[in-house]
């Protein structure tokens, strides 16, 4: 099962995205676990995830997460603002899967 972690300020707007991504994954028959957390929880949860995606409004957190992510070998990236605004589950899921598969 692929584990996708999303992080934003309080995990609110990213959880909108989680729902859309889950729908998309189910349509494609992909086995994933997707969950959203507040920014201060992301480092702790990083160990359980295959990939970390950050809400674009919190992109200044990237540097802070990068150290831990590198240690654990977890890829991370900032979500594309356009996809974020459209709550585009398909695009963000593709982005996440691409990062996991390297």
């Amino acid at each position: 099962m692929k584990q996708i972690l999303l992080a934003c300020a309080s995990g609110m707007s990213t959880s909108l995205l989680v729902k859309k991504m889950e729908e998309e994954a189910e349509n494609r028959g992909i086995d994933v676990k997707i969950w959203a957390v507040a920014q201060d929880k992301a480092v702790k949860e990083l160990g359980n995830a295959d990939v970390l995606l950050i809400g674009p409004q919190m992109r200044f957190m990237k540097k802070k997460y990068s150290k831990t992510a590198e240690e654990k070998g977890t890829p991370l990236d900032v979500i594309d603002p356009v996809a974020y605004g459209r709550v585009d589950g398909k695009a963000v899921l593709d982005h996440a899967l691409k990062l996991i598969d390297g």
Partner: protein
């Protein structure tokens, strides 16, 4: 210069500021420390609202109402009135944790250090701690104490001034022993500070920080100019796609919460509320109207005047979360970010609303915020009612403000919609 270059330039300018604000160890600990206190503060707030339900005294009679209020009183007394306690423990814990050390001992060391600095007499009765110092009055001393105590504690831990237990001793036992020396040294340092201060004209650290830092800072923070600057900075950060609220709050929250608590104490005592600008002023009357930038009015505008597919889709997407003040879909989807057409209403509307709200409260048309912390996800109307201490005027002000925001956005939204509509039509024809 093309827009990509401009975006890159602004990114290069703003990102370091955002990173500094967010990665500053002490500001982050401050913000996360308040987060620890938040559930308790909200619990207490709900009971203040319940204890002051309108018309209840007429319904059940004065005497029963007094009994009812007394019964609910401890809920807020144990949480809201002593919110400084949780903030101190929260900051101490989070700051210690940020050094990769177990946080809880840093947290309790911070609280104990604060109590050491606190005068433990009330009107010649010794052995008591006045709750006032655990609330608004002690907020700043608490914050500084938590910073200093956590720094001292982690310093002693990092210097390895700990007792090492032999192997085989249960983990919990060895952990509490490992904290023994660092805690002893930290608290001793604060005892020395207290003793030194008792020989100065200030007598206590409380007096010094209260008169030299807290009073001037909160006076500045409660003023209109500083508030407008804070609001503008929040909007400006957001315009470049950075979470302005979380960045600016980390600086302003201590001031706004202290002002809030002053109001709460006055509200519960039934005296006049001293402050207009408080945490609630921002959270309820600005953020509480659809999220940062009050975009619920924009969603309504989309439903009323939107002809383009793009905006209609966005309205459906952004409407439901917008009711609960989550508005990233609107901010990134309209888009508001880096959109010159959106810049004017985006900056102007919050400033105008700050003014209307301020003057509505200054003139007494609408009661000032009662110091009740309403969760920021509370929908418009309900939040205004609760925040002003169950006053319908608070809800009306929110709806009035929303109409103002709508009028400010209207021409800009119309132009935006028209350009989307025309490009959609062109695409359809091709």
């Amino acid at each position: 210069m093309n827009s990509n270059k401009l975006m890159d330039m602004l990114e290069n300018f703003l990102m370091p500021i955002a990173e500094k604000l967010n990665n500053n160890r002490h500001l982050t600990a401050l913000r996360d420390g308040f987060m620890i206190a938040l559930p308790l503060i909200i619990f207490g707030s709900i009971f203040v609202v319940l204890a002051n339900l309108p018309f209840l005294d007429m319904l059940i009679g004065e005497e029963a109402y007094a009994t009812y209020q007394d019964a609910l009183g401890p809920a807020s007394a144990a949480t809201l009135s002593i919110m400084g306690t949780f903030v101190i423990i929260g900051i101490g814990t989070k700051l210690t944790e940020s050094y990769g050390i177990e946080g809880i001992f840093g947290g309790v060391a911070a609280f104990a250090s604060f109590l050491i600095l606190t005068p433990q007499t009330v009107e010649d009765v010794s052995g008591v701690i006045p709750t006032a110092v655990l609330g608004a009055e002690g907020m700043f001393v608490g914050i500084f104490t938590a910073f200093l105590a956590a720094e001292l504690y982690r310093f002693f831990v990092q210097k390895n001034l700990t007792i090492k237990m032999p192997a085989g001793v249960p983990d919990a036992v060895s952990r509490s022993f490992s904290a023994l020396i660092p805690i002893t040294l930290t608290l001793s340092a604060f005892l020395v500070i207290r003793i030194i201060f008792s020989y100065t004209p200030f007598e206590t650290v409380q007096n010094l920080i209260y008169t030299v830092i807290q009073e001037p800072l909160t006076a500045l923070g409660s003023g209109l100019p500083a508030t407008i600057i804070a609001v503008l900075l929040i909007q400006l950060f957001w315009f470049f796609g950075l979470h302005g609220q979380i960045l600016i709050n980390s600086v302003f929250d201590p001031i706004w919460y202290a002002l809030n608590d002053e109001n709460l104490q006055a509200f519960q005592a039934g005296t006049e509320l001293p402050n207009i600008v408080t945490k609630q002023f921002i959270d309820t009357f600005l953020v509480g109207m659809g999220g940062s930038g009050m975009t619920l009015a924009v969603v309504i505008g989309i439903f009323l005047i939107g002809r383009s597919r793009q905006l209609k889709e966005l309205g459906k997407l952004g409407g439901p979360p917008g009711i609960f003040n989550v508005n990233e879909p609107i901010i990134f989807g309209l888009p508001i970010i880096m959109n010159p057409l959106a810049l004017i209403p985006w900056l102007l509307a919050p400033v105008v609303i700050t003014l209307t709200t301020y003057f509505a409260m200054a003139t007494g048309l609408v009661p000032k915020p009662a110091g009740i912390i309403v969760p920021w996800t509370t929908p418009i109307g309900i939040s205004g009612f609760m925040a002003t201490g169950n006053a319908w005027q608070g809800a009306v002000l929110q709806f009035f403000n929303m109409a103002v925001v709508f009028l400010i956005w209207w021409p800009f939204l119309k132009i935006l919609d028209k350009s989307y509509y025309e490009s959609e039509k062109k695409e359809g024809n091709e």
